[in-house]
């Protein structure tokens, strides 16, 4: 399935039929008044992170428009949508990775456990220890496998001594399903592993600091189907302990690993709902067009 769409005129706003907006409002939980054009329920009962009316501009470019979304505990939420619709941008708001881009400006509020992460008092370093990230291209540090995993615990001072650090390295690698493969060569360079192993190393690196949320931006797009299947299994296991937000272009993958799915279009969050509902019974026409492959 191709995910490319012919770029529509950016000035054209998505017009959501009135009736559907009303339906969306009906869906929202009683008591919570969230102003949103998104179809479906953006809130969840047990949210670890909440985003409210988030807007992101890159200079003049309005990349994310008025997005409100909850990230539920111990669940996987998939962000899907055509290329350039702002999935990565939104994802990177959740751990303030956009701070590293000079032109990016983020408005709105995002909370982690009820605390606004964009507040002045929030320490970015601490935030990123709580909201880990796995990137599209595996990017292990050009250091040994051991050092890759140990880096996070070390800079955050999580291990008191070498034995504890060894322990963290082993459990993280084990959780990422990599321990058996690399236990005899922890001192080999992380960059010498295969692509799939590297990506699992990056996941192990992220969970080594014991975050609450793991953000994954197309983590399997550079991998073959077998490596992809392993990572998907891994994501399913990790769900026991972490909240996971995954951006993917692979509909089957979204369907396989996630419990909720959010569909983005031209910077707007068009529809969000339970994954099987989105894939079997999308309520918005744009969502339907996208998942049935009518785009491009």
């Amino acid at each position: 399935m191709s995910t490319e769409i012919a770029p529509t005129d950016p000035n054209v706003r998505i017009r959501v039929p009135r009736a559907r907006v009303a339906a969306a409002a009906d869906d929202s939980q009683p008591g919570s008044k969230i102003e949103t054009k998104t179809v479906g329920q953006v809130t969840v009962a047990d949210a670890v992170m909440t985003a409210r009316r988030v807007n992101v501009h890159y200079g003049e470019k309005h990349a994310v428009k008025d997005v409100s979304l909850d990230i539920g505990r111990n669940a996987v939420i998939a962000l899907i949508g055509p290329s350039g619709c702002g999935k990565s941008t939104f994802l990177r708001c959740l751990n303030r990775m956009n701070d590293t881009i000079d032109s990016a400006r983020v408005d709105g509020s995002i909370t982690l456990d009820g605390v606004d992460i964009y507040e002045k008092r929030q320490d970015v370093v601490q935030l990123r220890a709580r909201v880990g990230m796995v990137f599209q291209k595996p990017n292990p540090f050009p250091k040994s496998i051991y050092e890759n995993i140990a880096y996070g615990p070390r800079i955050h001072g999580l291990a008191a001594n070498r034995a504890e650090l060894d322990e963290v390295v082993q459990t993280s690698l084990a959780k990422a399903g990599l321990w058996e493969e690399v236990k005899d060569r922890l001192d080999h360079p992380g960059t010498g592993l295969s692509g799939g192993q590297q990506q699992r190393l990056c996941i192990a690196r992220a969970i080594a600091v014991d975050p609450e949320v793991i953000l994954m931006d197309e983590p399997c797009s550079a991998l073959d189907p077998i490596a992809t299947a392993r990572i998907e299994d891994l994501i399913d296991e990790l769900r026991q302990n972490y909240a996971i937000v995954i951006v993917t272009h692979n509909m089957q993958q979204a369907a396989r690993v996630s419990q909720r799915t959010a569909y983005f279009h031209l910077g707007e969050l068009v529809e969000v709902g339970a994954t099987n509902q989105i894939f079997t019974n999308p309520r918005h026409r744009l969502t339907e067009d996208y998942i049935t492959g009518r785009f491009g």
Binding site: R128, G132, F135, N139, Y151, I155, R205, V209
Partner: protein
Amino acid sequence: MSEATQARARTSQQKVAAGLKRRYRAELRFRSYGIAAVALGLLFVAFLFFSIISKGYTAFEQTFVRLEVSYAADKIDPDGKRAPADLEGANYEALVRQALRERFPEVTERGDLRKLYGLLSGSAETVVRARVLADPNRIGSRETLWLMADDHVDMLVKGHIDRNVPEDERSIDDRELGWIDRLTAEHRVEVRFNPKFLTGGDSREPEQAGVRGAVMGSLFTLLVTLFLSFPIGVAAAVYLEEFAKRNRLTDIIEVNINNLAAVPSIVFGLLGLAMFIQFFGLPRSAPLVGGLVLTLMTLPTIIITSRAALKAVPPSIREAAFGMGASPVQAVLHHVLPLAMPGMLTGAIIGMARALGESAPLLMIGMVAFIADVPKTLSDPATVLPVQVYLWASSPERAFVERTSGAIMVLLAFLLVMNAAAVFLRSRFERRW
């Protein structure tokens, strides 16, 4: 596939095949141009090395004359007290002259004697003094010593003076020739390795002149340059590349750094003269000031190459570090800088090599003076190798020609050692992935 498309495919294949030959020919031609260019370059380098080494190796050798010197007690220490001051101040020149007169007893006339004494270098007496001071028990005995000959004797022995030109056009007259020939016949003349060329300072007497002063001057100057320009340059590059916001000010700074890299080096010399010497009152001719001036000159180069090295570090490494919660400084120190270090070292070595060969800005701050003493500190007056080459090249004595080439050889060796150190360091950093 239809007939027509098949036919079309066939003719395309033929066209490709026809073009293929032309392409290979072009490729071959291009390759041979490249090889020719490299070969030409190597030829020039080989020629340069050959001409310098063939001219310069003799600077490491010097003509010595074997003489029996008697450490006459009445000349060195008449009152027999062995007082160090007496031993130090005794007239050793007289002993050397005595030794010469013993060889040539028939020479008695004053003018002739002066010529005879002129066969030996003025440094001969210091050799004799050193022997006595090392062991005062030698007083009263005789010893055979190899004493350095004067430079014009050396030139004759090395074949740089033509015996066949008329006597009045030669720097050595027939009588001196006779003496030298007699000494040679007695196997008293030998061309031997001359450590003084490497261990001595500059001198007006070519046979006594050495490169040590210039080598130490270059070393001190480059150390100052390295220890200032590398940290400052790397820090500036890291700040500009990793931390500074892109705005008008940083753009202006960037343009200015690029322009500074192209400023003729003599301008930095003038700047150094005005700033370090006239304003801050630092000493003239000092390696410290030379190093400061060369720092100004090399900083732009180091900043530019360091920034290029930082740019070459893939952004994914920074993202990975930030994603793990590293602070910007941690991301740079732990990940970016180690990866950029080999490139930065390359830049530093290019800058240092240029600084080593630089003479113009150092002329402006007085490092061109004649300095016989080997500098011991950063503020002693000194000169540097390229300036020493220039000074010797412009000296009239024939014997300075080989010394000029010899000094160039030392300069090249210095450069090779420096580059080897940089290559070693770079491979050390690269091995740490």
